[in-house]
Symmetry: C2
């Protein structure tokens, strides 16, 4: 009853500022990249909750207590991830229980869930798994449908403190199904938050900043512009807040329109999409199909396209000709070409693009062949040299670029560049249709 | 000269504890995932430098100063990334300059580099780019070969404070070429740090923890075991420190040997490799070639294999048959099969594996077809159902698994599972050879 009473007494609490605490030595030694806190930040942003600080700490009682001492006075909401589960000795649960002076009690609902969880998987139940159902009596259980470590919510006079498992899928389900509804129910919001996006490709951040400096400088206090670069993509994110949604929305449409007119040549989309999402959407709109022939990217272009749910409506398939023999047998690149100008050449990508378009019967086909490094360079062909072939009913063209990065970044840049060449060919087909 | 004098006066300084400060609203709003700090942590770990804390903060003077106030008393080394460059208003440089009471002066070497940088790219030089060559007179420039924002090193009595750009490649080059050598030169280390690794596949973290609980509990104070799970992979990392390298190394070999003997069935490699790196290495050792035929993974298996430099020696290529028509035309899956048992079936993956192995002339071929979600499920076939086909001189086999995650995680799990099935087929070939 104590928890319920408190819950009600804070019905009108405003959650505006949050601090995220990521717990785990695997994060501090750099063996695991923290994707959780970015995802959590995105969810909270949509509710107009601002992340003031992220802390990444060791999974020790001392570090967790210090992080709480630092965060409690500054945040309406503190979300801890990690430090739960058998191999972590449930250090976060035990520390929060101490910190807030609670007592661990076995939660029957959680325990039955844990038992069923192991039964369904025909896995032996371990003693440590029973203990996962023990939760502090001064916390509210946030049910974990996807795993065995329950989430916990401690409601303090001015701050909600939440503990979630570090496993991304479990953390995400608990946050979406258990925490966000409680935050919404306890927040009376007088502010509307509006976002507008422009996805650009092929123009550097500092040049775009100069192109629109006057517009950016004229933005009012309550509207902010963010630059979000990603392998040749540049997402512009305009975020605004105001009490009248309609007025704010009109105001922001005006600014995004001004920016767009200034950068028209580079605009890919005016939604929160990445390049492959925008391309698949536009191919669907124009009823155009696509196939790919990849050498140096080894399937990354195809994999990015098929990251988009529903890609199968327009993306047909690919021939990955990593070995030169396959360029000959599957894509009709002649022995002469391979033996004279070589696999990294205009002649090769032209033939690859024509052949795969023909074989897969698509409207557009893109082919890539290049040297991503660290090895493979020759006297005439440096690391980073990549040829692109684009085939459509309009014929076939080749392009070449030099990418100055290392292997993984070159690979990403080549894939994004290929997708953008497909987008331009699509525009050409549509314009001239 | 002042900097040089100081530099010398701290010749015997020991850097043991570091704090990382990642600066940028794009990190706090979750639009960019922080990969820099994990990479930096790995580099520092190799020098036996322990990361005590990571802070992610807004790009404001106040936040940067607060982070320094918090970190200065606690760390020998503080590395700030981000908040440099035109679109960031060089906020980090200006704040550090204030914080340490310096004056900005134009650095000619840096300025000439910036000018050449723009000339080489035939890009117009902007006024803001000139200002990038202005650095605090109480800092040492850390030259940025890859970009225009210089790194800076402030040597304080007990702490080195470093500022690096947020662009990963620029940050990495400066850290490797300019910072690490200075740290090594200023550190007399009496401790040796040794790491041993075991890569496992197919056994959950908490079960492995139980399998080796007695060994883990018997580990001495100076040896620590970390569990690093990644989509079905589980990397065990044993880290130890000691004054006698030979003694420490022997001791750790004993422990890793004990753990290995307990988990033999799941061991993929005893080096710091991921599954695809280990597979490519082992295929090379056994002179076996591989091809793939992918439907639902859309090229991710092939892309992972070709992430490994030198994969071309054993990985030949792939047919990505995302559309069913391509399964017929390129992989001989019959209309009857697709129309009766369907594309997500044992019959389909058996034919896909046989066909691609035959077409590409490889020793081993793997094929996948499944439903990754969110849509595509039928009455008999739930989201997450995936069939795998493996073909070799021993014949062809099919396997099926149900993956309980969402689309992106299912895709990763399917790719890793396919790679592990190839590894097992390789072992079968080698054993029976």
């Amino acid at each position: 009853m104590q928890v319920l009473a408190k819950f009600v007494s804070f019905k009108s609490m405003e959650i505006r500022t949050a601090i995220l605490i990521s717990i785990g030595d695997e994060l501090l030694i750099g063996q695991t990249i923290d994707t959780n806190s970015a995802w959590i930040a995105q969810q909270l942003n949509r509710l107009g909750i601002h992340i003031a600080l992220k802390l990444t700490i060791s999974d020790t009682k001392e570090a967790i207590k210090s992080a709480l001492d630092l965060s409690m006075p500054q945040a309406d909401l503190i979300i801890c991830t990690g430090g739960l589960g058998p191999t972590k000795d449930d250090i976060t649960k035990l520390t929060l229980n101490d910190y807030f002076g609670g007592t661990l009690i076995r939660n029957q609902t959680v325990h039955e869930h844990v038992v069923r969880f192991f039964e369904k998987r025909n896995r032996p139940m371990l003693a440590v798994n029973d203990m996962q159902a023990d939760v502090p009596d001064n916390s509210t259980v946030l049910f974990n449908r996807m795993g065995t470590a329950p989430g916990m919510l401690f409601e303090r006079p001015d701050t909600w403190v939440v503990s979630l498992p570090g496993v991304p899928k479990e953390m995400q389900v608990i946050l979406e199904e258990e925490l966000l509804p409680r935050i919404k129910a306890n927040t009376i919001r007088d502010q509307h938050i509006v976002y507008k996006y422009l996805l650009l490709f092929g123009r550097g951040e500092s040049f775009v900043a100069q192109d629109i400096a006057d517009i950016e400088n004229a933005l009012p206090e309550h509207i902010h512009l963010s630059y979000l670069p990603n392998y040749g993509e540049l997402k512009l994110r305009l975020s605004g807040s105001g009490t009248d949604y309609a007025v704010l929305n009109r105001e922001m449409d005006t600014y995004i329109g001004l920016i767009r007119s200034r950068l028209e040549d580079y605009v890919v989309a005016d939604e929160d999409l990445n390049l492959e999402e925008a391309l698949i959407k536009q191919l669907k709109e124009h009823r155009l199909t696509l196939s790919t022939a990849e050498s140096c990217t080894g399937g990354l272009i195809s994999s990015k396209l098929t990251d988009v749910a529903g890609a199968s409506a327009v993306y047909i398939g690919s021939i990955i000709a990593y070995h030169n023999r396959i360029k000959q047998t599957e894509l009709n690149v002649s022995y002469e070409i391979l033996n004279t100008v070589g696999a990294v050449s205009e002649a090769t990508v032209l033939e690859m693009a024509l052949s795969v378009r023909d074989r897969m019967g698509t409207d557009i086909a893109v082919a890539v062949s290049g040297i991503l490094g660290p090895t493979g360079a020759t006297a005439e062909k440096p690391v980073g040299l990549v040829y692109f072939g684009i085939a459509s009913v309009k014929g076939v063209q080749a392009f070449s670029y030099n990418f100055p990065y290392d292997r993984p970044i070159n690979k990403e840049m080549v894939a994004k560049t290929a997708l953008n060449l497909v987008r331009k060919e699509m525009q050409r087909l549509v314009a001239e249709a």
